[in-house]
Symmetry: C2
Subunit: 338 residues, 2 copies
């Protein structure tokens, strides 16, 4: 009989936590016990997970006794504070915050790309930012054939990346605008309904945002390419679920569109949607709720002899977060690393 | 006394035509007579322009007798058919369609950039695509100081670029989605509400769209740089008015952020909105209804030693279309070219 695990989900009531619980059931992770944890505000709530009805507990430093795998989807502050306690108690942590991703001893993993980085883990692993995972998942198979030299990416990120309150804000603002009223903003600094904001996460001194530098630094780390040239502009758009990326890649040698499409068609986790003649290309509305990273609009970049342009969309709550975390757990189990 | 002109507006009932009529009054173009023209469907409608109430006439090949300046904001098909008749009748045409822009003998003009190209006109002039004008207006003053070598631009284009019916479609779809109903699409191939579509204008064999190649070819023509490297991905977003552009520029030599901002602050038609510390950056919601092209998020591109990244937003109906056309008329008048 194969081993069963005690799993804790920190942030169980959040959007990513909820998605995690759905996928855990779908994929039949070998679970012995499941504990749902959240902030004191949510403690006591009862959630249905598959056939189990479970009560949400408050997360504290002492919560992790007996836990084998702890999935954290909380703020960076919570992760920074509680992840070490969980690891010390013997849980293997899979963290979804920015807190640990760039720590050298923390594997930052997309299983289809760098599962072997899990090998040396010290009790804490991390999943990449929700737009980094689709970017690297799509570029990695191309990079293995013809190395990538430079990446320019502009994002179209949905409000679910911010959380449930942002989805509510978009709903309320959209209704207000349609009814001819003024929209009020609480979560974002400006109206997001029928608007776009070139502002995801706080600004840094360089003029980049923390989100944009996540794209830069996490991509380099996952690809083991510290000298890769990469730049990003991260933009919030009035979409509920699904992040899209417009990507311009330079390779060391030209890669034809047909070759790139053929490689992507074989790539695990990737689905090519690229039939302009029938208006088939990735869209957030159709990617939401799906596991795959959708790639389309692959074309020779007219501004560079060895460049390709492409368009990527994926569900930021699934492959961008919860699904990737569960795949890491599956990989850790398969490798006897937990 | 200065000369007065007979002006015709073809497409007077469209979104750009309406904006044109507002701006004509605001800027007091020296008009003797104003004739409103449109398709047979709109003929007979009466419109208020300043203090005049005018009846819309059907546009035909014989409509242009006595017209000095004819502004066309119609489909490419209509422009291709009727612009020659207008020019033959002696009207100076300012055309807003894609039909004539790349014709070698047709000046394609942003007055702040290449007004002198009007000099040799043969009766037909054209205004650039609504996202090309802000792009070139912002890059031109930088290019004059330090030549631009390559441009990568990804757009966030509003539905008013398609027209009034697209604005109605966004409104109706947004209501449907908020009410939990299915959205139906007539104007766009897929839902635009709470979605983004990497699809503006038809696809070409190369995988680029006609809109994307407009960005490429019109930019080269206006800047008189046929060998400029430039690539674009054009994306429709659920915004009513205001096109935004995420731009990554490579120069022949490094240009500092401070220098670029200083140049842009002096540039005609440009307004710098670049104070990340107080969340000040261009947004379509705030740019709509304004004349300026707003530029912000100027920063050293971390992926290129002589690169800058920036973010541009402008009202696609005003500087992107009607205002630029009126400025061309003013320039033609000032130069005694009409």
């Amino acid at each position: 009989m194969s081993k069963l695990y005690n799993v804790a989900v920190v942030g169980a009531t959040g959007l990513v936590g909820q998605e995690f619980l759905k996928i855990v059931v779908q994929r039949q992770l070998p679970i012995k016990g499941l504990r749902l944890m959240a902030s004191p505000r949510s403690a006591g709530r009862r959630l249905l997970v598959g056939e189990w009805e479970l009560e949400v507990e408050e997360t504290t430093a002492n919560s992790f006794h007996g836990v084998d795998i702890a999935f954290f989807s909380a703020t960076s502050e919570v992760s920074r504070e509680l992840v070490p306690s969980a690891a010390k108690a013997g849980a293997l942590v899979i963290d979804d915050s920015k807190a640990w991703r760039l720590e050298p001893e923390v594997p930052l993993v997309i299983p289809e790309v760098n599962a072997e980085d899990l090998q040396g883990h010290k009790g804490i692993t991390a999943i990449p930012n929700c737009e980094v995972t689709p970017l690297v998942l799509a570029l990695w198979p191309l990079h293995r054939v013809t190395p990538v030299r430079r990446i320019i990416v502009d994002t179209y990120q949905s409000v679910s990346g911010t959380g449930a309150l942002a989805m509510q804000e978009l709903t309320e603002q959209a209704r207000a605008v349609l009814d001819g009223h003024r929209a009020t903003s609480h979560i974002y600094p400006h109206q997001i309904a029928f608007n776009v904001l070139p502002h995801v996460e706080p600004f840094l001194g360089s003029g980049y945002t923390r989100e944009e530098m996540s794209v830069v630094n996490e991509t380099k780390k996952i690809m083991h390419e510290p000298d890769l040239a990469i730049s990003a502009t991260c933009v919030r758009v009035p979409v509920f679920v699904g992040h899209s990326l417009s990507v311009h890649v330079e390779f060391v040698r030209p890669l034809s569109v047909e070759e790139a499409q053929a490689i992507l068609r074989e790539a695990p986790g990737v689905s090519v949607q690229d039939e302009p003649s029938v208006n088939l290309y990735p869209q957030p509305w159709t990617a939401a709720g799906k596991d795959e990273v959708f790639v389309g609009r692959v074309r020779q970049d007219v501004s560079h002899p060895a460049g390709l342009a492409l368009w990527i969309t994926s569900d930021n709550l699934r492959k961008g977060a919860a699904l990737n975390a569960i795949q890491i757990a599956e990989e850790l189990i398969a490798r006897n690393l937990v």
